[in-house]
């Protein structure tokens, strides 16, 4: 390892330089006795607190929470925030994550007291706005999926998957049909197999053919009456729409299994093709992908599911109902669903997310949603074309010729010929001010780079990104060490992840005290 890596031109995007080593947690700031909180007076006749709560039930050691004034609190977290890269200030082509623009309108409407300050157990008669919104969102999602019934309850994609596989189980059990296996392609996202296990099924992997689609022979071989379900992403995680989808559906339905649609890639096909029409029984949506929830550094999300007629009786409770009355429609929550799989969580799901995605659908309408998918596909193909033009040899497309909303390049030739890995490219892109694409996924492509530009990016940004990738490749041709030691301009550089896992320090040690 050389000590003086060639550095890119010094950069500084901020007017508040923070020394790189100045990393103190909130627990390392403040002082004993400082506070941001001021407690209001109780205002009631004071009772002896130790009579109200006996000593035996009281805590002995205090929770040593931070002790800071409000200005210290604000400054700590504002400064900390700037150690993040974010979508609002840079391109984020993280494949499979659909990092599309998050309209600020959504934060405004979600914050309205009539939404934000609604208690989830409010009498439905006094929650008609919330229920109507959820009803409308269910109908819209059902229309996008091409399926008749929707539950908004799951909290994220993987939660939707779990709901979906449990629905499959309930469906089979209702027919006295105890099945044991669930098929997932080897391109599947990790949540799919993990979900299968959690739902008590065995995972059986299905291979991928040379075109990047499901290996039909392998599928034919594995599909039998012990198969409860096939979970599929379509377009799949290679960004390719499976041309055999109709046959796949036929095969799966032929053995009485259900077909599950992992909706993470729905952004490719909204208004152009519908999972229900492809033969899927159960679909989950990632509202935080296709329907633009801000991702919050790892959530919250929301993972509604849409299902076919035959799955509908098993949906989680409660279910939203709508009845016509002389005074107009009335919405309610129905808990009386004898075949339901039950609850997956408290209350009615991540309503705050529903408000955002509903606002999004209202903004775009039918045409706008289709347009979004079309431009997502256009942008992906444009970026792909630009990259092929610039670095087609070093970073070839892994499968196929065109793509849907995302595509996978292989960093294999680059690694072989230039000596830098996909990871190095990713790290060097940080110095160019870009978030790297998803790397090393899907697993079946060596040195994979999964790129998803989304529809909300400009052509100029795609060009700049393609040129940055090309410049990293060109630079590596001169000196691979540059990328191998990148990044240089970030608050920290490559971190010791192995050490972190080996010797986990997952909380701050605090000084003991007797107070």
């Amino acid at each position: 390892m050389t000590t003086v890596a060639p550095r890119p031109p010094a950069s500084a995007d901020s007017a508040t330089p923070m020394q790189r080593d100045e990393v103190r947690t909130i627990f390392e700031k403040g002082a004993r006795g400082r506070r941001a909180f001021q407690c209001p007076p109780a205002g009631v006749p004071e009772r002896n607190p130790h009579e109200l709560l006996p000593e035996s039930l009281r805590r002995r050691e205090p929770a040593r929470l931070p002790e800071v004034s409000e200005p210290e609190l604000v400054r700590h977290y504002v400064r900390l925030s700037r150690r993040n890269f974010d979508l609002d200030s840079g391109f984020y082509p993280l494949g499979s994550c659909t990092m599309k623009h998050n309209p600020r309108l959504h934060e405004r409407v979600t914050a309205l007291p009539g939404h934000a300050r609604m208690h989830p157990l409010q009498d439905p008669r006094r929650a008609q706005g919330a229920l109507e919104l959820m009803w409308n969102l269910e109908r819209a999602l059902g229309e996008v999926a091409g399926l008749p019934a929707v539950s908004l309850q799951p909290s994220a994609g993987s939660h939707g998957e779990l709901a979906g596989v449990l629905l499959t189980r309930a469906y089979h059990e209702s027919r006295g049909d105890a099945r044991t296996k669930v098929l997932t392609p080897d391109t599947a996202h990790g949540t799919n197999p993990a979900t299968v296990t959690m739902a008590g099924y065995e995972v059986v992997k299905v291979g991928t053919n040379a075109d990047g689609g499901v290996d039909m022979d392998d599928l034919r071989e594995k599909v039998d009456d012990q198969v409860a379900c096939l979970m599929l992403t379509n377009p799949n995680t290679l960004g390719l729409f499976d041309p055999n989808i109709e046959e796949i559906a036929e095969l799966v339905h032929g053995v009485g299994a259900t077909l599950y649609y992992d909706g993470a890639n729905l952004n490719a096909v909204m208004g152009r093709s519908r999972p229900g029409d492809m033969g899927f029984d159960i679909v989950h949506f990632n509202l935080h992908k296709s329907f633009t929830q801000p991702h919050g550094g790892g959530g919250p999300g929301s993972g509604p599911i849409a299902v076919s007629e035959r799955i509908e009786p098993f949906l989680p409770v409660p279910v939203i109902t709508r009845s016509e009355t002389p005074d107009g429609p009335v919405f309610d929550l129905d808990y009386d669903r004898p075949q339901s799989i039950g609850r997956l969580r408290g209350f009615q799901g991540n309503y705050g997310c529903f408000v955002r995605s509903y606002a999004y659908i209202c903004s775009l309408g039918a045409e706008g949603l289709r347009d979004a998918s079309e431009i997502a596909v256009l942008n992906a193909n444009y970026l792909l074309a630009r990259l092929r033009e610039l670095v087609g040899e070093e970073l070839p497309l892994a499968f196929g010729d065109r793509c849907m909303h995302e595509f996978v390049l292989s960093g294999e030739p680059m690694k072989r010929d230039l000596g830098i890995k996909t990871l190095d490219l990713a790290k060097r892109l940080l110095d160019h001010g870009f978030h790297p694409p998803t790397v090393y996924f899907p697993l079946l492509v060596d040195e994979a780079l999964l790129m998803e530009p989304t529809e909300t990016e400009t052509r100029e940004t795609l060009d700049a990104f393609a040129e940055a990738v090309a410049s990293v490749v060109a630079e590596a041709r001169e000196d691979p060490e540059v990328a191998a030691e990148a990044p240089y301009t970030t608050p920290v550089r490559r971190l010791d992840e192995a050490g972190a896992a080996k010797n986990p320090v997952i909380r701050q040690e605090l000084a003991a005290d007797g107070a």
Binding site: T25, F27, Y77, N84, L87, D88, M198, S363, L430
Partner: protein, 465 residues
């Protein structure tokens, strides 16, 4: 052109030329004809920003929110005051819009927040290990069950009926998948029946679950409940309300193995039930069985302190079908609200706040017990919520009483009979620092009026007065 996209006709032309395609339709040729939609979706037309705002405002006005009535409704989510700093910080693009921190070099903000959050939850629970959040309360209980299954593979969950009904239902839904039986232990005198609890725990017990304070608001003897499971293989899981933990014996002090709970009260909105977050803490023994993200401290190549996602071999993206959980997207932003809230409260503040709740709740309990036809359901210690029994016919009557109060601008609480047939006429009343003594007095008066009305309608008591 949509306001969120940027492809002008010139852009389109040039981009298609670069791609070498004649049209956008050509790009969709991958989609087999048989599954092309071939029509526009049947959805309303798109709207301008101001129209969408207007529509959503109108819907919001068709709701009665905690701004529109004085609410004593709790039962799992509570109307606490969240300080304005939280809005500001959560609204910052830098926290709001990044994805999960897969690239630590440019995600130190989110990662350090996770580390701080884990520390705060660890302190609060008195347990050494916390993850960076799970979805929310009841599913956190479910996740604890799955951890127990992975840990010991036993066949039975023993569950106190003091556990929130949503948690019990969620546990049942999830455990059905991997085949664990759920046995419920009844309440006695308002707390988990200690004898039934001890009797239910045996060598097949995979995990035992209780809630603190329990659904009726009563503080359980958590140490005793944990102790009862000591000689069984069972993982002891407690579902905790975090603010009362300012003064209640911590899970760590009580011998609890896994402490979970609903994080809404820690700086998150009511939001009609979500998003909030679930916290998940455990003893060191379960570190490598934990679900979800965990941030760890490390150093970079230059020796600088930094944070990374760690112990990822537990997770679905690495371990796939062998993962400890399928969770991926979680509740990072809500957990940020949580750690900011806890830092805002601070070490002394959380004690003061919990003591305030203790005092006001005691006052409210006394005030309501003085109302004609209303009496304390149980007399165990409570911190922030308590149940009274109404001298009315049935749960429907309780709901009518509630509604009569609401017509007067006060939401008196939750009809316990909706979930507990054994307490058909109980009303669960929640107190927060936002409910003043004056409002508690109003509640007592309003409840008295509503009770009188209900009893008059039903022909009970001094019918005509």
């Amino acid at each position: 052109m949509s306001r969120y996209t940027a492809v002008t006709p010139e852009d389109l032309e040039q981009m298609l030329a670069t791609i070498g395609a004649a049209s956008i339709d050509e790009l969709f040729e991958q989609v087999p004809e048989g599954v092309r939609l071939g029509r526009e979706l049947d959805l309303p037309e798109g709207m301008s920003e101001q129209e969408v705002y207007g529509h959503l405002l109108e819907l919001s006005r068709a709701n009665t929110s905690a701004d529109d009535e004085i609410t004593f409704l709790g039962a799992g989510m509570y109307d606490h005051y969240a300080p304005a700093v939280i809005d500001m910080l959560l609204g910052r693009s830098e926290f709001l819009t990044p994805y999960t921190p897969y690239q630590p070099e440019i995600s130190q903000g989110s990662l350090q927040v996770m580390f701080e959050y884990q520390t705060a939850i660890s302190e609060l629970t008195g347990l050494p290990v916390s993850n960076a959040s799970v979805y929310e309360g009841p599913s956190a209980v479910g996740a604890a069950g799955y951890l127990a299954k992975l840990a010991n593979g036993k066949s039975k969950f023993v569950v106190s009926r003091g556990l929130h009904p949503h948690s019990r239902e969620t546990l049942r839904t999830l455990s059905h998948g991997y085949g664990i039986e759920v046995v419920e232990v009844p309440l006695s005198g308002g707390v988990t029946d200690p004898d039934a609890w001890a009797a239910a725990i045996d060598g097949d017990s995979c995990a035992v679950f209780f809630q603190q304070p329990n659904f009726l608001g009563i503080v359980e003897d958590a140490a005793a409940l944990a102790e009862a499971a000591k000689n069984s293989p069972a993982v002891v899981v407690g579902s905790y309300d975090p603010i009362p933990l300012g003064i209640l014996a911590s899970p760590g002090e009580c011998g609890v193995d896994v402490a979970v709970g609903e994080g809404q009260t820690l700086g998150n909105r009511l939001d009609f039930g979500g998003p909030s977050f679930g916290f998940f803490a455990a003893t060191a023994a379960y570190l490598r069985k934990m679900p979800g993200r965990i941030a760890g401290e490390t150093t970079d190549v230059d020796g600088r302190r930094g944070f990374v996602l760690t112990l990822q071999t537990r997770e679905q993206h690495i371990r796939r079908e062998k993962a400890t959980s399928n969770i991926c997207t979680s509740q990072a932003l809500n957990a940020l609200a949580g750690v900011v809230y806890l830092s805002w409260l601070g070490r002394d503040g959380i004690v003061e706040l919990a003591e305030l709740l203790l005092q006001r709740t005691a006052y409210a309990r006394e005030r309501l017990s003085g109302v004609e036809g209303v009496e304390e359901l149980f007399d165990g210690p409570v911190v922030r919520e308590f149940a009274v029994d109404l001298d009315v016919a049935d749960t429907a009557a309780v709901e009518r009483v509630i509604s009569r109060c609401q017509d007067r601008g006060i939401n008196p609480g939750y009809a316990v009979g909706r979930d507990y047939e054994e307490f058909p006429t109980a009303l669960l009343v929640a107190i927060t620092e936002q409910r003043t003594a004056e409002q508690i007095d109003m509640l007592a008066e309003t409840l008295a009026e509503a009770m009188a009305e209900e009893r008059a309608a039903a022909g009970v008591g001094e019918a005509a007065s």
